[in-house]
Symmetry: C2
Subunit: 338 residues, 2 copies
């Protein structure tokens, strides 16, 4: 029932007939093949061993290809990392494509390949998918929505409301790389800097951290809105203050340079492979030791502490002891970063 694919995706590829079938066979089945992947209306899957976690995310990044990754990788990392934040081992993923008529078939192939490779890295399986094609000008190349089901680790209690005064605040690497890379890839600023996205699936390093310290209080991935937005959310949810040591915040020199030129705060640029992690201070070194063994989190470090002072605010302390409030996240600066 399959036939060779043309160079561009057409409306017929989304109509559910022969061409849809050809697209599925020639691209999706080629990369996503696994015993659970379904050709029926739903995948039938073994019952998870414990409570489950479920998360969904739509990906609309523009441009779809950027230094360090593409929308395919991103769509797997985003949902894997959302499950990871809850201490849930990613088990099953679904993906739904909305494709603009005229997308180059080779691009879709690259995207699917990146998805399969990223999923394999984590050991999560793609079990079901869907493809819709919309007319030229009715979408921007390709949008992907992934949804994941994970199985909660036992003995773990993670939530944004669990931060306690005295806790250590860690980030798992330098901040703002993804947002900066996408910005530069848009080519509207004429800045010549080499910045690659930090896009990475973090289940393995985070599960190592949770094994080393099951009493971690909060894990959040710093995507849209960056580390700054996540910190303000945690400060609100836990009714605590957060004090950051400005000079401890890891920023790649190229990212810092771009931010300087454009007047951006790296703490508000999106990351796609960075977690904010909050835990009792006495656990911090154990977590840093566990995570720094993994390439994607080798830059893990402490950037601040949770305080009783300044509830619901984030304070930056500079080397000379000056304190300023990190401005509250406001209106959008950088749409379609993820």
């Amino acid at each position: 029932m399959t036939e060779k694919l043309p160079n561009q995706i057409t409306l017929a590829h989304g109509a559910g007939g022969k061409q849809t079938s050809a697209l599925i066979h020639e691209i999706f089945a080629k990369y996503f093949d696994n015993p659970f992947l379904t050709a029926d209306d739903a995948a039938v899957l073994p019952r998870p061993g414990r409570k489950i976690a479920m998360s969904t995310d739509g990906f609309v990044v523009s441009p779809a290809f950027f230094p360090g990754g593409n929308i395919g990788e991103l769509s797997i990392c985003g949902t894997v990392n959302d499950l990871t934040c809850m201490g849930a081992k990613p088990l099953y993923l679904t993906c739904a494509f909305i494709i603009e008529e005229g997308l180059e078939t080779a691009k879709l192939d690259q995207i699917a390949k990146a998805m399969a490779e990223t999923a394999q890295k984590v050991g999560v399986v793609l079990v079901a998918g869907d493809t819709k094609v919309v007319g030229k000008g009715q979408a921007d190349q390709v949008f992907i929505t992934t949804t994941g089901v994970g199985e909660l680790l036992s003995g773990v209690q993670l939530a944004g409301a669990e931060a306690k005064p005295g806790d250590a605040v860690l980030v798992t690497g330098d901040v703002g790389r993804h947002g900066c890379a996408v910005l530069l890839a848009r080519d509207t600023y004429g800045i010549d800097a080499h910045v690659t996205s930090d896009c990475a699936p973090l289940w393995h390093p985070v599960s190592a951290a949770l094994e080393a310290a099951p009493d971690i209080h909060v894990i959040r991935d710093a995507t849209r809105g960056g580390v700054g937005t996540v910190l303000y959310e945690i400060a609100h949810q836990s009714h605590v203050g957060i004090r950051l040591n400005a000079e401890d915040i890891p920023v790649d020199p190229a990212v810092a340079g771009v931010c300087g030129m454009l007047g951006l705060e790296p703490l508000y640029l999106a990351c796609e492979g960075r977690m904010v992690m909050i835990m009792p201070q006495e656990r911090a070194n154990r977590v840093i030791d566990a995570m720094s063994a993994y390439p994607d989190t080798q830059g893990v470090c402490q950037i601040g502490v949770i305080t009783e002072d300044n509830p619901e605010r984030v304070v930056m302390e500079t080397a000379i002891g000056a304190q300023t409030f990190l401005p509250e996240p406001g209106t959008e600066l950088l749409p379609r970063i993820c």
Copy 2:
């Protein structure tokens, strides 16, 4: 942290900051509120009792509002019905919105309301969501992807490859209404006919049928491509022939009229509330009795039988005994019907 919503959705509503929070509170939380709905990265959910089924579907219907429903209702029905086809009780749903900048806030409110009402009808909960906003002209109003997890009924074995010669072929009501309603709502044909979509979630009537006859072989929802496409898929998967009795195929007179004028075959128009069901002939009456008690499936009837003859073909037999092959589904006629 919430603030009143403006009349139109802006890019800021998708940026993850204050406006996103306002949108979530003023619309999504208002309608979707339930104990499992998460404000964290993933919802934490009780472990299902048995094997699970998982399905995803993107909805891009144009126009988003049509007689008999809107994209919100459709997005719940589609995924609920996909789980239903596998004999899985829908438990949890996620939804991801991709919204075009400038969408009227009141429309989004109506869509969310329809989603909540439809979910409630089935007893499925919306546990997690995501919102992205793309620039004007980068999407067509609103796209919704829903993903569902269900729990398999015990003792049920449903698949497209299970049809057996001698089996009865049923549809659960008149065919082609959804596709026809959307077509007319586009207002490009200047045809004045009153057709409403058949859009409906079918878990309750189908579970009643499975209780009455657990040995049903195939259940498929006849969405994209309609009943004709589904029948050809089953014929291929089960390596059987299908013989339809032309005069037994239920078609609303208004739908038949529109199809006549436009030269369309109702069997190839999308349904969004119709199942094709295949079972041992001796179970057919029991299934019809069980389902005809429900308003959404009161038109359930037998339209044909599975044959050894004509493997992988669908044959139409007319009142005077003439036989013709139903043409194989080919290229798209009607994109963006769901």
